[in-house]
């Protein structure tokens, strides 16, 4: 047991953790780089309303994305696609979770782009969650 380890320590570790990730990835793509299409976000909006909205309102993911800054987008996708919706975890096709992810990014006003977001080939693990530019 390491009592007491105070809140400020946690904050310091968070800053150091983010700094370390930033240093170790020179120019990785981030969620600011137009990594999904508007069509995906539109499809995701319908899915979000059907499967997510009862527990997560439209503001829910703003602090989540902030808390996850520096982490690969693939981690968030893995959590979503294996544990959500809570009423029937993992029940949707993988592509649907990507569309929902696109909508979540659009809700936090991360820009859309020309290329579709894809869950295959580890693409999501290469994209870093970052603060909105």
């Amino acid at each position: 047991m390491t009592r007491p380890l105070l809140r400020s320590t946690g904050a310091v570790l968070a800053v150091l953790g983010t700094f370390a990730v930033t240093l170790s990835h020179a120019d990785p793509p981030t969620i600011n780089d137009g990594i999904y299409t508007e069509e995906q976000a539109q499809a995701g909006e319908e899915l979000y309303a059907e499967h997510c909205l009862t527990c997560h309102d439209k503001k829910y993911f703003r602090p989540v994305l902030k808390a996850w800054e520096g982490q690969p987008l693939g981690v968030l996708y893995t959590v979503m696609s294996a544990s959500m919706p809570e009423s029937n975890p993992g029940a949707l096709p993988r592509a649907d979770y990507v569309d929902i992810l696109a909508y979540i990014l659009s809700l936090s006003r991360y820009p859309a782009g020309d290329a579709e977001l894809d869950y295959r080939d580890g693409v999501l693990d290469e994209i870093v969650i970052s603060g909105r530019e």
């Binding site: 047991m1 390491t2 009592r3 007491p4 380890l5 105070l6 809140r7 320590t9 946690g10 904050a11 570790l13 968070a14 953790g17 059907e50 909205l53 009862t54 527990c55 309102d57 602090p63 808390a67 996850w68 981690v75 893995t78 959590v79 696609s81 294996a82 544990s83 809570e86 009423s87 029937n88 975890p89 993992g90 029940a91 096709p93 993988r94």
Partner: protein, 674 residues
Amino acid sequence: MKHRTKYGLSAPERFRHARLAALSAGLVAAAGLQAAVAAPGTENGQWHYLGGDSAHTRYSPADQIDKGSFGELEEAWIWDGASFNAQSGRSTPSYINGRLYTVAGPRRHVVAIDPETGETLWSYREPNTARWEYSMRQDYGKGVAYAEVDGRDVIYIISPAFFLTALDAETGRPLAGFGKRVPIEGFPETGVVDLLADLGHDYDPYEGISLEKGYITSSSPPIVVNGVVVVGNSAEQGYNQSRIENIPGDILGYDAKTGEFLWKFNVLPKPGEFGHETWENDAWKWTGDISSWAPLSADQERGIVYIPTNGATLDFYGGFRPGDNLFSTSLIALDVKTGKRVWHFQLVHHDIWNYDTPTAPVLLDVNMDGKEVPIVVQVTKQSFAYTFNRVTGEPIWPIEERPVPASKMPGEKLSKTQPFPTKPAPYDIQGLTHDDLIDFTPELRQAAIDIISDYAIGPLFNPPLHRDNDEGLKGALWCPGDIGGVNIDGPPVADPESGILYVTSRKHCSTRVMAPGAERDARIEKPTGTTIADYAVLTGFGVRGPDDLNLFKPPYSRITAIDMNTGEHLWYIPVGETPETVLNHPKLEGMDIPNTGTGRAAPMVVTKSLLIYAADASDGTPHLFAVDKASGRQVGKIEVPDRSSYGMMTYVHDGKQYIVLQTGSKLTTLALAE
């Protein structure tokens, strides 16, 4: 033993009197009802508690909607809580003397609704406070409580900010002569009790309790028993905590007429109190939770309230709180007059699996060897239906302490045994072996084996495993997971006439990335407590099956009928129909796939002649299914406007029976075509 009431009637006698009264009023014939031997609350088409009656059976003797007429159901009206910013659909309305009452949205507006038209009659909104702003379960209100006080109907709620408010059901105005003035601008002069005042912690009326000390709110309403308002509570979810301090979810009792504070029951025993020795490391001084977030049930005749509890702070790691940790993850029976413990049973010792009790205990009077036996049954995530004599607390069937695995996480000291009911049999998966995995084809079975090979699997109570473990595994995979078995979205129902319990459950296993607590703490915006735990959940997820198919053999979700007179399972059915994504899956082409069930739990009600539940058909459209109660055979199926969850209710108004579905922000109401 027959229990005499203050009216000089035993429970069965009182029920018989109620039946005679109903018959003489002519109401039964008008609505097609027959009175049943049930706890008070659903006579004559009423629905006084969110669980129908105070026994939480969700049973109604209404019978206008039966096998013959079920197919004629159509939409009666839809009430939309969008203007209250409602989203979750967790609240089951109550129907009391000609009106529906519910709560809606993050402000937990109390709303009265015309039961014939769906028109909003009045609403009440609690003034803003800082303690509401940081409240963590704002839109999760599950309903209202009710009592008759001096001939007047009164509605009670607990708000996200943890105030108890009593409202005149006729007008929606705060009840005169109830509570104490709250020193915050905008609060009414009467009708409100500040619940924080009676917990014994420092607080500010506007700001609440400091997050460094802990956090408390409520999502369920109170329950009123013999003139006493019993107040439970909720904490922040244990999987969203990273620090070891919290406040305990002590139970509070108030006078229903005046709001006068009557008693407090300490769910975390203090020195000298029963169970104190189950807290080592002085953890009783600073940790907490043990909230009673599921609704409470009551035996009105005997004046006993039944309280299911949550685990202690935190979920999945309890190295800082060695010991069994009473009264966490327990069923507690309290004398409502004094708040004293009548009996208790701890369902899980030193719970670190998030096996909190998610639904209200169900009370039944069953027949065993010719004797009427008052029982209480608590269904759980771990797929056990723990059953007790609700007066004495004696298990109806033996519950054995059996050895369970030890934890490999540093500092974690688990109980060497856990209680295992010998009857009824588990109603869903417990533990995981390769035989539980998908077996439509050998290739799919092998793919599933490969997927779980990264995890430590084992029997029930397989403990979590930390990241960077010596086994080189991602973690542990334990079954049921914390959203397996029964959960909040599928409360059980029961038929008090037959003594049959209907349980809806889901097959699910959990794994969590257990990392040093500081990693998780850095990601929590407003953590509670000050001392970071050695370990906490970094991320939580289940495990996907192969090729977008379920990891397990079907059924993915089911309804099990259990005869509580004998403890025997009578039948089970999958919930809804096999999804088209399974039926049309390229790897299953040409195969005869059985009904897998949807994987979702089923909101249910049980009536005089039917078990009614909501689920999706194969094409994903929401439907209502009618089932023969004795056999489980489907006798009706109709499409409904929207998918529902968390509960369902029925009532009879002006001779017409309605069914209310909880469909997100809306209440969708069905009745027979004119």
